[in-house]
C-alpha cells in the first residue's frame, strides 16, 4: 500500500518522547520505530517497565477501525492470531491530536527471515499453525485480508506464528479494503475481492510460493499457469504443488480442509499418501479442463447475469420492432383507405 508522505511526518516522534493519554492518562515512553503500515507508524514503547507496541496515526478513523477488529478478536476465546489490545487513546501534541492504540509487543523475526534461518523444513509447520488460526478467525466471521509474510512474525521458542497488522481484516461478505498485489486473488485474475475464507487461503498459497521466491515476481499475463510454472521450477515447493494449486483455484472450502491435506503430505503412512494423491487428483482434474480461461468462481455468476441482460435486451428489441411494424401497417391501411 502507498504511504502518504505527509502522514508519516505528522506522527513521527523521536525516541524518548513521552506520550500522555488524554482519556485514560497512561504514560508511554517511545523506544524506537518498529515499522510503518498503510495507516500509521508502529513504535516500540515502555509502559510500567513493560515493552509494548504503540501504533499512531493522524487519521483517527483508521485507528478506530483497527481497534474495532482487535476488540472483536479479544472476544474469541484462545485466539492467538492477532496481538492483544491494551489501550486506546489520543495524544494531544501542540497544535494537533494524534490517535493511537497500544498492543502487546510481538517479538521475533518475520516469516521469511525465520525460514531463511531455520530452513524449508519449517514451512509446513508454520503454514499448519497459520491455517489453524485462520480457521478460528473464519469461524468468527472475519477474513484477514492483507495476509503476507511481512505481517507474520514467528515468536518463540517454541516457534509460534503470529500476525501483527490487522488493518486489512474484513467482515465476511464485505469487500477487501487493504491488500498486497502479489497475495491478492484479484490481481492474478483468479477471483473477486469479496472477503471469504477462500481469499485468505489464496494468500496462504502465495505465501508458500513467496517462501521459495523471496523476491516475488510480477504478473505478465496473470492466471494460474503463470504461478504454477514457477511452483514446478522450485524443488522445495514440489511436495506442496497440489495444495498450492488447490488453494489458488479456490478448491478448499475451509482452512481446516487445506490443513488436513498438508498434514497428509507430511504423513509417512503410505496409505494416507495414496489417499491424498487421489483426492488431489480428483480436485486437480476438475480445473485443468478450464485452466486456459481459468474462470474465478465469481465470474461465472457475473457472466450469467450478463447473459440475462443480453436476453432481456434482445426481447425488448423484438418488442420494439413488432410494435413499429404493427403501427406502420395500420398507418398503411389508413392511408390506403383514404386514397380509395
Amino acid at each position: 500500500m502507498m504511504m502518504n508522505p505527509s502522514l508519516k511526518n505528522l506522527c513521527k516522534v523521536i525516541p524518548g518522547t513521552i506520550i500522555d493519554g488524554k482519556w485514560h492518562h497512561n504514560r508511554y515512553t517511545i523506544i524506537k520505530e518498529l515499522g510503518y503500515g498503510a495507516n500509521g507508524i508502529v513504535y516500540l514503547a515502555r509502559h510500567d517497565n513493560k515493552q509494548v507496541a504503540l501504533k499512531m496515526s493522524d487519521n483517527g478513523m483508521s485507528i478506530t477501525s483497527e481497534v474495532n477488529v482487535l476488540k472483536s478478536f479479544a472476544k474469541v476465546q484462545g485466539s492467538a492470531l492477532g496481538p492483544s489490545l491494551l489501550d486506546v487513546d489520543d495524544w494531544e501534541r501542540p497544535g494537533k491530536k494524534v490517535s493511537f492504540y497500544v498492543m502487546e509487543f510481538i517479538k521475533g523475526p518475520d516469516f521469511l527471515t525465520f525460514l531463511q534461518q531455520k530452513g524449508p523444513d519449517w514451512t509446513g509447520v508454520m503454514i499448519l499453525q497459520l491455517l489453524a488460526d485462520l480457521q478460528q478467525m473464519h469461524d468468527n466471521g472475519w477474513v484477514f485480508g492483507d495476509l503476507k509474510p511481512d505481517n507474520l512474525i514467528v515468536t518463540g521458542p517454541p516457534a509460534r506464528i503470529r500476525c501483527i497488522d490487522v488493518g486489512g481484516t474484513t467482515m465476511q461478505g464485505r469487500s477487501i479494503k487493504e491488500f498486497t498485489e502479489f497475495f491478492d486473488r484479484g490481481y492474478w485474475g483468479l477471483g473477486s475481492r469479496k472477503a471469504d475464507p477462500g481469499y485468505d487461503l489464496f494468500a496462504v498459497g502465495m505465501i508458500m510460493v513467496n517462501s521459495a521466491y523471496p523476491k516475488r515476481f510480477t504478473k505478465s499475463t496473470g492466471g494460474i499457469e503463470e504461478i504454477m510454472s514457477k511452483v514446478r521450477k522450485s524443488p522445495e515447493l514440489k511436495i506442496y504443488e497440489k495444495v498450492i494449486f488447490n488453494s489458488l483455484t479456490g478448491k478448499y472450502q475451509s482452512a481446516a480442509q487445506m490443513r488436513e491435506e498438508i498434514l497428509e503430505i507430511h504423513q509417512p503412512d503410505s496409505r494416507a499418501r495414496k489417499r491424498t494423491a487421489r483426492i488431489q487428483q480428483g480436485a486437480a482434474s476438475q480445473p485443468s479442463a478450464k485452466t486456459v480461461g481459468s474462470q474465478p468462481p465469481g465470474a461465472a455468476g457475473r457472466q450469467t447475469r450478463k447473459g440475462y441482460n443480453k436476453k432481456k435486451k434482445k426481447s425488448t428489441f423484438v418488442e420494439t420492432v413488432t410494435i413499429i411494424l404493427i403501427i406502420s401497417l395500420l398507418y398503411f391501411f389508413y392511408i390506403y383507405s383514404q386514397i380509395t
Binding site: M2, T64, I176
Partner: protein, 245 residues
C-alpha cells in the same frame, strides 16, 4: 439514515493544465454541487514539476477530495485506495454533520471518547459497503501520457474489481481530455463494469493540449444532465404511484 449516492470525479493526469478555466476553481464548483474531486498524478521516471504538484494538490483540496502522486507501477493500488479513502471521507463528513446536530457545539467524532468512536466507525464502515457510488473518471491523454495509458487501463479494471466486491451499486463513466473535437470526449457511458474499456483504450490517440479546467467543467454538466434525467424519471414514478393509489 439515507445517504443517497456518493459522486466523485477521479482525475488521472501527469502535469499542469495549459488551457481554459482554472481547474482549481472548477473543482471548487464541483464541491459546491456535492461532487468530490480526487486527483492522481502519475509519474514515470520523470518528476512532476512544482507547479504541477501544486495544481494537483490544489484541485483535490478545493474539490474536497484526496490527491496522490505515484509512479505508474503503483497506479492500480493507488486508484482503488484513493477512491475508497475519498468515499470514507465523504461518509465521515455526512456522519459528522448528523453527530454535530445531536451533540451540538461543533463537536465531531474525534471529540468522542475512543469507545464511542468505535461504534460510529462501524456505521461508517457499513455505509461504505452499501452506499451507491458514481465515479466519473477523467483521463489526461496529452502526449506525455501516451506510454502510461496501458497502466491506466489496468488500474481502472482493478478499480472496478475492487468496488464491485462491495454490496452497494457502482456506476463508472470514462472521459478523456483533450478529445478529438472538443476539450473532452466521452469514452464510456455510465456502466457498472469497466471491462469494456479494454477494446476502447487501445484505440486511443494522444496528443495536444491539457485542458484540465474545461474537462472538469464538462464532467460536471454530465453529472447534472444525468441527475435531472433521473429526477424526471423518479417524478414520473411518483405520479404513477399516486395514480395507482
Amino acid at each position: 439514515m439515507k445517504t443517497g449516492t456518493i459522486r466523485q470525479i477521479l482525475l488521472i493526469t501527469d502535469g499542469c493544465s495549459n488551457q481554459g478555466e482554472d481547474p482549481i476553481a472548477m473543482a471548487a464548483l464541483a464541491k459546491e454541487q456535492g461532487i468530490t474531486v480526487n486527483v492522481i498524478g502519475v509519474m514515470e521516471q520523470d518528476v512532476i514539476d512544482d507547479q504541477g504538484m501544486k495544481e494537483i494538490e490544489g484541485i483535490a483540496l478545493s474539490g474536497g477530495g484526496v490527491s496522490q502522486i505515484v509512479y505508474s507501477q503503483q497506479l492500480s493500488q493507488t486508484v482503488q485506495m484513493v477512491t475508497r479513502k475519498a468515499m470514507t471521507q465523504t461518509l465521515q463528513g455526512v456522519v459528522n454533520k448528523e453527530l454535530q446536530q445531536i451533540l451540538g457545539g461543533g463537536r465531531t467524532v474525534e471529540d468522542l471518547p475512543p469507545d464511542q468512536r468505535g461504534e460510529v466507525m462501524e456505521v461508517v464502515d457499513e455505509l461504505g459497503e452499501t452506499v451507491e457510488l458514481e465515479v466519473l473518471i477523467l483521463v489526461d491523454t496529452s502526449a506525455s501520457m501516451k506510454h502510461k495509458l496501458p497502466t491506466v487501463k489496468e488500474a481502472l479494471l482493478d478499480l472496478s474489481l475492487s468496488l464491485n466486491a462491495r454490496s452497494g451499486d457502482n456506476r463508472f463513466s470514462v472521459f478523456v481530455f483533450p478529445g478529438k473535437r472538443n476539450d473532452v470526449e466521452k469514452l464510456l457511458d455510465w456502466t457498472p463494469k469497466l471491462e469494456s474499456l479494454t477494446s476502447i483504450f487501445s484505440k486511443l490517440t494522444t496528443g495536444g493540449i491539457t485542458p484540465t479546467g474545461p474537462a472538469i467543467r464538462e464532467a460536471l454538466t454530465y453529472f447534472n444532465k444525468k441527475r435531472s434525467l433521473r429526477s424526471l424519471l423518479s417524478r414520473d414514478d411518483e405520479s404513477f404511484f399516486e395514480e395507482s393509489v
